[in-house]
């Protein structure tokens, strides 16, 4: 479903899918808008789109990681600080989720 109003889009999406997951996806998109310095609008990126190909620089990627750490109250362990972990929106979701899951187990 195509919707011009982004707020409405997220409401529609939330009713369709798991609220938590969409919440994280939207938050990540907001953080990308603020910190990734991409020449394209983050809302237009597919979940699987390569952020580096979209123009994510190494400087901006660190700013984005810092914002993610602050927002989700997490710290990325060093073994996740690699290109693959932040390659796309869905990769970031996976990376953040894996830390949150670990914390729940602990």
């Amino acid at each position: 479903m195509v919707c011009a109003n982004p707020e409405l889009t997220s409401v529609v999406n939330q009713t369709k899918t798991d609220k938590g997951r969409m919440g994280m996806n939207n938050t990540i998109r907001e953080l990308i808008k603020k910190h990734a310095g991409l020449p394209v609008n983050a809302d237009e990126l597919a979940d699987s789109a390569d952020l580096y190909a979209a123009g994510l620089s190494s400087f901006a990627s660190v700013q984005l990681m810092l914002a993610l750490e602050e927002n989700f109250d997490i710290e990325f362990p060093d073994n996740l600080l690699n290109r693959k972990s932040f390659q796309s929106i869905e990769a970031i979701e996976r990376t953040v989720n894996s830390i949150v899951q670990d914390r729940k187990v602990a």
Partner: protein, 393 residues
């Protein structure tokens, strides 16, 4: 009589030592005239040293980064410009070996490097973006089976002597500046129009002049992997390690000269310790630190190569940046120490203890990829990188 069989015989170090002898004999002339060290590079070709990194199944010798760094040092002890040409060639070759194995064209090309001992040049720097090799303005155009590229390449080292140039560009005309590819253009596929001279303080033989590059080639000559991955996974480590090998070679030769000076003084006045002896002990310490640092980097890269995630990790990038900073700074302290030891005999040109060329060549180390840029990059990564607290880690 088959001379080539004789020439490429012996260990890698033996073969490099023969190249070093040729390089040494021409080093003063190369430096004075800022000319390409054609004799030394000719010897590298005769010794088949330009293809040692290529895997054995493609006809090469499968030499490791560590082995090549050792050769950079051996040649660097004789002529830093020759050694830097050798290092730059192998840095470019590492991109082919690491990222070209899945492409038929690039595999065939590696076989040709073995048979013809082709010298590879590099065009990553571009007018308008400075030295940030992870950004391009120019874009490659693909039309049918052909790709075309025009680049204002402000630096292409030994461009006129290269048999092939690996050149970076944006992946297509709408791509972001960081969305880059690298393409191999053969000598008959491009033209070069000179825009900048190379009349420098040191490293005068690398002939790193500027050119407008215009090329047209088959589109299969574009590397199959994004340049971002090539830069992170092979270029970063190979550049910092092989450059450090060259710089270590310059430092070793400077310390050798200082030691010879102190020994000669000691022999003239038996029973007394020459005044430079304490400084020699200090500089021997610095040289050992530099060596340990480079050796640790070689080991760390060999381990990271087994694991793609590790290779593209922040921790690895920080470690490689630190190696480059340390060796490029330490080399100047070392040569300055050697100069203090040799005194006026080191300061003068044309003595067995002359250190002017060493000092001038060594000053390039902090500038080729500016240390300030690298420190800025590291400081950014340290905002998220968690320090490894182990000793052997």
């Amino acid at each position: 009589m088959n001379i080539t069989v004789n020439l490429a015989s012996g260990s890698l170090a033996d073969r490099a030592a023969r190249v070093a002898a040729v390089a040494r004999a021409n080093s003063e002339d190369v430096d004075a005239k800022a000319r390409f060290p054609q004799e030394a590079v000719g010897a590298m070709k005769a010794e088949k040293l330009l293809s040692i990194q290529i895997p054995r199944d493609l006809g090469g010798e499968g030499a490791s980064t560590g082995e090549i760094a050792e050769l950079c040092s051996i040649i660097g002890q004789a002529c830093a410009s020759s050694a830097m040409v050798f290092a730059m060639h192998h840095i470019k070759l590492s991109s082919l070996v690491e990222h070209g194995m899945d492409s038929d064209w690039h595999r065939g090309f590696m076989k040709k490097i073995v048979s013809d001992q082709l010298l590879i040049g590099s065009a990553t720097t571009e007018g308008g973006i400075g030295g940030n090799l992870r950004n391009s303005l120019c874009a490659i155009e693909v039309e049918g089976d052909t790709c075309r590229l025009t680049k204002d390449a402000t630096v292409i080292s030994y461009a006129l002597q290269s048999d092939v140039i690996l050149i970076t560009s944006r992946a297509h005309k709408d791509a972001a500046p960081s969305d880059q590819v690298m393409t191999a253009f053969l000598k008959n596929q491009y033209t070069l129009e000179k825009t900048n001279d190379w009349d420098t303080l040191g490293m005068r033989g690398t002939c790193s002049e500027g050119f407008i590059f215009k090329g047209e080639a088959g589109k299969e000559q574009i590397f199959p992997k994004p340049f971002a991955e090539i830069a992170a996974q092979s270029m970063l480590a190979n550049s910092h390690i092989l450059w450090s090998g060259v710089w270590y070679g310059i430092a070793v030769d400077a310390v050798n000269r200082a030691q010879a000076f102190v020994r000669a003084a000691a022999r003239k006045q038996p029973g007394t310790v020459p005044p430079g002896a304490i400084r020699l002990a200090e500089v021997s310490n610095l040289l050992q630190m530099m060596k340990s640092n480079v050796v640790a980097a070689i080991k760390s890269y060999a381990e990271a190569r087994q694991d793609e995630d590790k290779l593209s990790s922040v921790a690895f990038a920080v470690a490689m940046n630190n190696v480059k900073i340390a060796s490029s700074e330490t080399i100047l302290t070392i040569i300055n120490h050697a100069m203090l030891i040799c005194g006026i005999m080191g300061y003068k040109n044309g003595t067995p203890f002359s250190l002017g060329r060493h000092l001038r060549d060594a000053h390039s180390a902090q500038l080729m990829i500016s240390n300030d840029r690298i420190l800025g990059n590291t400081s950014n990564m340290l905002l998220i990188h968690k320090q490894d607290t182990s000793l052997l880690g």
